[in-house]
Amino acid sequence: MYEKYLEKSASFYPEYPRKSGNQSVTHYCPGCGHGIAHKYIAEALDDLKLTERTVLISPVGCSVFAYYYFDVGNLQAAHGRAPAVATGIKRINPHSIVISYQGDGDLAAIGGDEIIHAANRGERLTVFFVNNAIYGMTGGQMAPTTLVGQQTTTSPRGRNIHNEGYPIRMCELISALEAPVYVERVSLHSPGARAKARKAIRKALENQVQGKGFSFVEILAQCPTGWKVSAPDSLKWIEEKMLPYYPVQVFRDKSAEAEGWAPPDVAYSDADVLQLIELPLEDEAAPAARPKVPEQYRNPRIKIAGFGGQGVLLLGVAMAQLGMMEGYNVSWLPSYGPEMRGGTAHCHVNISDTPIGSPLVSASTVCVAFNKPSLEKFEKEMARGGLLIYNTSMIDIQPTRKDVEWLPIPASEIASQMGNIRFANMVVLGAFIQKTGLINMETAIKGLPAFIKAKKLIAENVKALENGAAFVRGELKI
């Protein structure tokens, strides 16, 4: 007659169906610390009733096979990337309990970036960091936490501070950040230490249950195989070699005062989504009949150029937007490369009755030059019979091409007289519309808010359009 008092945690599989080979034993070496750490985690999941909603991120290293044992949802991660993987799944499953379980090479070397930034974002994760001062899985190479003088297969003469630097203290690093809620280092070397480890593991999980933010528990664990000592001696090894360098203590505990948080769960209708991403729900009204466009202005290939800040790119967008509203095929391509960071800017615009092949404009049929360098550069590449619009306010020379039509306009002066030189581009747009008849003025006025985002400037931009058109009609004198 037996009564069973000790049994395996329900968060573990009774046997290990995810494991190939012998499914009743673990793959860990005798005396390894991982078994104890696993056990404390599994028991905490049982007691806190978290098993069903827990997601474990299995790392690379000896615990790569943690998924063999824990009967929970599981993602196996690349070396060092567990905190990023954990971030990904926690953000889309905020209700779940996500545990990133990592060793020292994984977390503190190849994954140094991922752990620091997950901690710094205050991800609502629980990270268990098993520090045994060695790469166990790959056969005993040096870890970032390997102690000074410790011999490993890649520090055969012992870790030398001049070659390898000092062992890294992760708790100290992480507790220098603002966001983490709870950071503690514990050890598995004695019954008393283990009791504290068990408690810390629970606290780190409870924090996540309450949505309190990033919790980090470093566990100093024995690796008798990697250290080449017996299992009992490995406990002494922690005590004598690791504890002096890695103090066991609480580095940060804001658990009590940290407020729980979870992202709001809001349902969005189709109409909400379309509106919020700024897609119009209704078809726009069919465009009004276009004015008759003289042959030479049809299907223009437009090049617009000037100094950065003269509204060159915006003028191109405006032409394309209005062309689209009139039912043409359109394209707008900005100048590309270092020049967009200052100096001259230019863009390519096509407005066409037929689908647009190359969006690049090489032989322009309309060229708009806002300043002298632009005139000199782009006049040359115009197609014969094209329309050259140039800003005489900023250009004190005459064009050289006699085989193109000239449209000189003091755009900057017209704009300045309106009180803002920045309206020069809309003055030119008005002139272009008046000259070519490609676009209805009503369409332009209606379409203005699509590219002039500041509502209070709409009326003045309309006036600039009208002034540009009036200048071409000869009704505005400067």
């Binding site: 995810r18 190939s20 098993t51 909603r53 997601v55 998924y67 009967d71 929970v72 949802g73 599981n74 993602l75 196996q76 991660a77 690349a78 990337r81 990023a84 993987v85 954990a86 971030t87 990904g88 799944i89 953000r91 889309i92 499953n93 779940s96 309990i97 991922e114 620091i116 930034h117 709001p264 809001v266 969005y268 189709d270 909400d272 989504v273 919020l276 991403i277 897609l279 119009p280 729900l281 078809d283 726009e284 967008v317 394309a320 689209m324 095929n329 359109v330 394209s331 707008w332 391509l333 590309y336 490369g337 647009i356 092949g357 190359s358 969006p359 690049l360 090489s362 032989a363 699509a450």
Partner: protein
């Protein structure tokens, strides 16, 4: 139908939201940054997740994590960033996780420059990361296709449980054109195979490690079978004036747009040339090229690279017809006239 004059890069983001993409994880890089910026603006507004990751490496691993949860997820970058993401893309392929990766190609190698190139072809089409895997690669050549093919990318990724690239160049990403967006809004859903953090999916395991050689070979064979099915069913190709063509030009992305104009110019001069544009770079339209080989006398491939896709064209043609290559590198984009000169030499 909602219509907007919009940059290709921004169209990707609105399309992703309409496709029910739950999360975007990315890192800024020119000329792909408008994607991250638009995602940062719009994703949170509709209850989706946006995170600017600490690195390209972390961003693709966040994608891996969210994809493991069984939702639609994406990232975007450009050449140097895609190089860094290759680790995670290999893991996604190995663990059979669907995700969408936009690559707005720039000049290389190394830091190169931010002007358009098509020199990521090898790294996206041929695998890029370690292991025996393929990614579906869609190559839009307009803002409209940046929308349409992004939505298709999510569908293909889900259907085959595999990473899908949307690959284009800085020009197509930065250019504004009219896009007609679908009115159908897909809301985020979760696949049953994902780890949802609940009892129903507790047994699910997202994994790419198979220690036993036989098991890993079996897993690889399963992947290859899937890739063979994709090659049979998912080839997309676009043709222009190939019906009576005696010469064939092949190009994708911005080059296909320029070649379209070149074809018109050449036809005006009586040169019977047609354009074939692979819309899927993988699976590659090898069969269609072979078919056209029966009729055309010569093939001209044009790329913004040292000649990467041309290798696949030559594999398809198998020496039946001469295959010529013309490439520009470093961000110089040829004009339609320049390419007309190339065709006239054929």
């Amino acid at each position: 139908m909602p219509r907007e004059l919009i940059k290709g890069n921004e169209a990707v983001v609105k399309a992703a939201i309409l496709a029910g993409c739950q999360a975007y994880f990315g890192y800024p890089i020119t000329p792909a940054s408008e994607i991250a910026e638009a995602a940062a603006k719009y994703f949170p507004l509709v209850g989706r997740t946006f995170i600017q990751a600490e690195s390209e490496i972390a961003s693709i691993q966040m994608v891996y994590g969210a994809a493991g949860g069984g939702v639609r997820v994406m990232t975007a970058s450009s050449g140097p960033g895609i190089s860094l993401k290759q680790e995670g893309i290999s893991y996604c392929a190995g663990a059979e996780l669907p995700c969408v990766i936009a690559d707005i190609m720039r000049g290389g190698p190394g830091l190169g420059n931010i002007a358009p190139e098509q020199s990521d072809y090898h790294q996206v089409v041929k695998g890029g990361g370690h292991g025996n895997y393929r990614c579906i690669v869609l190559a839009p050549n307009s803002a409209q296709e940046m929308c349409d093919l992004t939505i298709k990318a999510f569908d293909l990724a889900d259907q085959y449980r595999t990473p899908v690239y949307v690959v284009t160049d800085g020009y197509i990403g930065q250019m504004m054109e009219q896009v007609n967006f679908p009115t159908a809004v897909q809301h985020p859903k979760r696949h049953d195979w994902g780890v949802h953090g609940d009892d129903a999916t507790r047994k699910n395991l997202i994994n790419s490690i198979y220690l036993d050689p036989d098991e890993l070979e079996e897993h690889n064979r399963k992947l290859q079978k899937k890739y063979a099915e994709i090659e049979r069913k998912e080839v997309l190709v676009d043709e222009y004036r190939t019906r009576d063509a005696e010469l064939l030009v092949i190009g994708y992305g911005i080059i296909s747009r320029i070649l379209r104009t070149t074809v018109d110019l050449a036809r005006e001069q009586g040169i019977k040339v047609g354009l074939l544009r692979p819309v899927t770079l993988w699976p590659f339209p090898a069969k269609r090229i072979q078919k056209l080989c029966e009729r055309v006398q010569a093939i001209q491939v044009v790329e913004l690279s040292n000649g990467q896709m041309v290798e696949d064209v030559r594999l398809a043609v198998e020496g039946r017809k001469p295959v010529k290559f013309y490439g520009r590198m470093g961000g110089s984009v040829p004009s339609a006239q320049e390419l007309l000169g190339v065709i006239r030499k054929l």
